[in-house]
């Protein structure tokens, strides 16, 4: 009993100390009602220096909150109860949020610097005329390989993943769209296919892949490839650029028969309570210097063509990450398939995972 008393008194004392500390930290950061701008973004997906700079320039206080997947972010905003002023979803999620009327149409009279964005990344199918979203970063899905273990000549196309020499050495990204998409692409079909026959064909083709698959993972691919745990992986260009920085034997290929191009765009959700702050932040990010600084920090491809002029040449001339037009023309954006086909894609993918060996 004594023990219990000592413990509980100690705990209550600790709680009081922590409470006071927390209060103090909050007030010292100057968060008050109307000057707070709440940004809901992926973790570590902006240069923290930029947030500080923004706060100094504009006087807004930024509250940076994070999510770990588009779907989780969607659920959170849809349910409400939060006051997010800006968020940065991927394109298929923007389409879905538009359909659910969760976004505020952008008022272009309040936006300065939109002309800095490369016109190739504007007015795309998922958001015609960019009514709701402004490009933040973009990239592709491709194959990364290690030249110590495989000959680069042999790894240029999706079909190469099925080669016998890659037995037990391929890592796939854990996403139904990615895996089924690459199977569809490898046969020259669209990765947004809603044709049941084509999907069944893709499933049959995937059933032959398991012998080559070492693991189906996600963010950890980066670490595994740097570590040389696997010789080949299917991954996103943003991830790949960081891998290349850490291991000189790695190379990134965008299969020429077609692949996915993705965009993370800035949107203003209806939960916003500080719309002026949101526009101020969008304008801030459109400034070429800021966009360049952010691109250097994160390592993804920036859609800001003025910013590209400020980046070191070896970055922007790297065709692995800033591919030429003829490659980009073969790339497709994921479309929101609708609930029914998302379900079908996922069932095929689950079946594929279960049949691995």
């Amino acid at each position: 009993m004594r023990n219990l008393k000592v413990l509980f008194v100690g705990i209550i004392a600790i709680i009081c100390v922590l409470f006071v500390t927390s209060r103090q930290m909050r007030t010292s950061q100057g968060h008050t009602g109307d000057n707070t701008l709440t940004i809901y973004n992926w973790g570590d997906y902006i240069d923290p220096e930029l947030i500080k700079k923004f706060e100094q320039e504009t006087g807004y206080k930024v509250s940076y909150e994070t999510f770990d997947s588009n779907e989780a972010m969607f659920t959170k905003i849809q349910q409400g109860g939060t006051a997010y002023d800006l968020t940065i979803p991927s394109e298929y999620m923007i389409q879905k949020m538009m359909a659910e009327e969760m976004l505020i149409p952008l008022d272009y009279t309040k936006i300065k610097g939109i002309e800095n964005i490369d016109s190739r990344f504007m007015d795309l199918d998922f958001d015609p005329e960019n009514k709701y979203s402004i490009p933040y970063f973009w990239g592709t899905l491709g194959i990364i390989y290690n030249d110590k273990f495989v000959d680069g000549e042999n790894i240029q196309h999706w079909d190469d993943l099925w080669k016998e020499e890659l037995r037990d050495s391929v890592m796939l990204f854990d996403g139904a769209r990615e895996v089924i998409g690459l199977a569809l692409n490898s046969d020259g079909e669209s990765l947004n296919s809603k044709d049941d026959e084509l999907l069944a064909q893709a499933a049959r083709k995937l059933a032959k892949l398991p012998d080559n698959v070492k693991a189906i993972v996600a963010d950890e691919i980066k670490m595994y490839m740097i570590n040389e745990e696997a010789s080949v992986a299917v991954t996103f260009s943003g991830e790949a650029s960081e891998m290349l920085d850490n291991n000189e034997h790695l190379h990134y290929v965008i299969p020429s028969e077609g692949s996915n191009v993705w965009f993370d765009n800035i949107v203003i959700p209806k939960t916003t309570r500080n719309i002026d702050g949101a526009y101020a932040f969008i304008n801030f990010l459109l400034v070429p210097e800021n966009a360049a600084q952010n691109a250097e920090y994160i390592g993804y491809s920036t859609p800001n063509k003025e910013a590209m002029g400020l980046l070191p040449e070896e970055i922007i001339e790297d065709e692995q990450f800033y591919p030429p037009d003829e490659v980009i023309n073969h790339l497709e954006v994921y479309e929101d398939l609708g609930v029914e086909y998302i379900g079908i894609y996922n069932d095929i993918f689950l079946e594929f995972k279960m049949h691995r060996r």
Partner: protein, 277 residues
């Protein structure tokens, strides 16, 4: 007990501790790695500790995380202990099993379901998402483990103790306070620690019910995974780990000092009885 057996037992315990602490020391070791990642140690550096000291955002989150863990575990322990007593004093094995199954539902449910249903629940009730909603959720999912820790202890209690207390004229609250609680104290402490652990570790539930500037360490760490986890997090874990180590050892010796001599001699006689094995 013969000596050889004792040594084997100690060796076994030693191995278990090595196993439990292996990944922790791995993390600590690499927090000093100049190479910037957890593969291949290239040189010693303290830069991640420096970066951590300057990262007020992360430090604020740490304070909030611990405030939440200490407080939610405390509330969960109080409610859970009484809950265990309620289950224990419910008549009929069947009824007890029904209650116990209900108790365990939150333990079996994946975090995503719990998080999503709490989110719906809070928004339906119009509770805004902030520290309070996270606190309520953490209390909610920690209660079952407290019950599971306290209940076995209650079952071992000799019912004649209570009868004796009642014969001596103790009121119900006195019985609870003077007889039952002291007897189940180890279970309560264990329950508190487990609840604390659950709270610190939880990612998915917190993620769904948090908002308006409140975040916890787990949410921050998981959402940073897309970019790869910086060794700054390793540095933070190292500091937190050492801090909790000091806290635990400190608490132990304070509470030891407070244990009455009578208790000690009782422990001793118990120890001797066990040692005769």
């Amino acid at each position: 007990m013969n000596k050889r057996k004792g040594r084997l037992a100690n060796l076994y315990l030693f191995m278990v501790f090595v196993l439990l602490y292996l990944p922790i020391f791995y993390l600590i070791f690499y927090s000093f790695n100049a190479g910037g990642n957890m593969n291949g140690f290239t040189g010693f550096t303290l830069e991640y500790y420096q970066a951590l000291a300057e990262d007020t955002r992360l430090l604020g989150i740490v304070v909030d995380t611990f405030l939440l863990a200490f407080l939610s575990a405390l509330l969960a322990t109080v409610i859970g202990t009484f809950g265990a007593m309620m289950i224990f004093y419910t008549r009929g094995r069947k009824n007890r099993n029904v209650l116990l199954s209900m108790n365990n539902i939150l333990m079996v449910s994946p975090d995503v379901i719990i998080g999503a249903s709490f989110l719906i629940f809070f928004t339906v009730l119009g509770i805004s998402l902030n520290f309070l909603s996270v606190l309520l959720s953490h209390v909610a999912f920690s209660i079952p483990i407290v019950v599971l820790m306290v209940l076995p202890r209650l079952k071992e209690m000799n019912p004649s103790l209570i009868d004796a207390a009642r014969d001596l004229g103790a009121t119900n609250w006195q019985i609870i306070y003077k007889v039952i609680i002291p007897f189940v104290t180890p279970g309560i402490i264990a329950g508190y620690f487990m609840a604390f652990t659950y709270s610190l570790d939880d990612f998915a539930v917190t993620f769904f019910v948090t908002g308006n500037g409140f975040s916890t360490l787990a949410v921050e760490i998981y959402s940073r995974a897309r970019q790869g986890i910086s060794l700054e997090i390793n540095a933070l874990s190292t500091l937190l780990f050492l801090f909790s180590m000091i806290l635990v050892i400190g608490y132990y010796f304070i509470s030891q000092g407070n244990t009455s001599k009578k208790q000690k001699s009782l422990n001793k006689s118990r120890q001797e009885a066990i040692d005769t094995l």
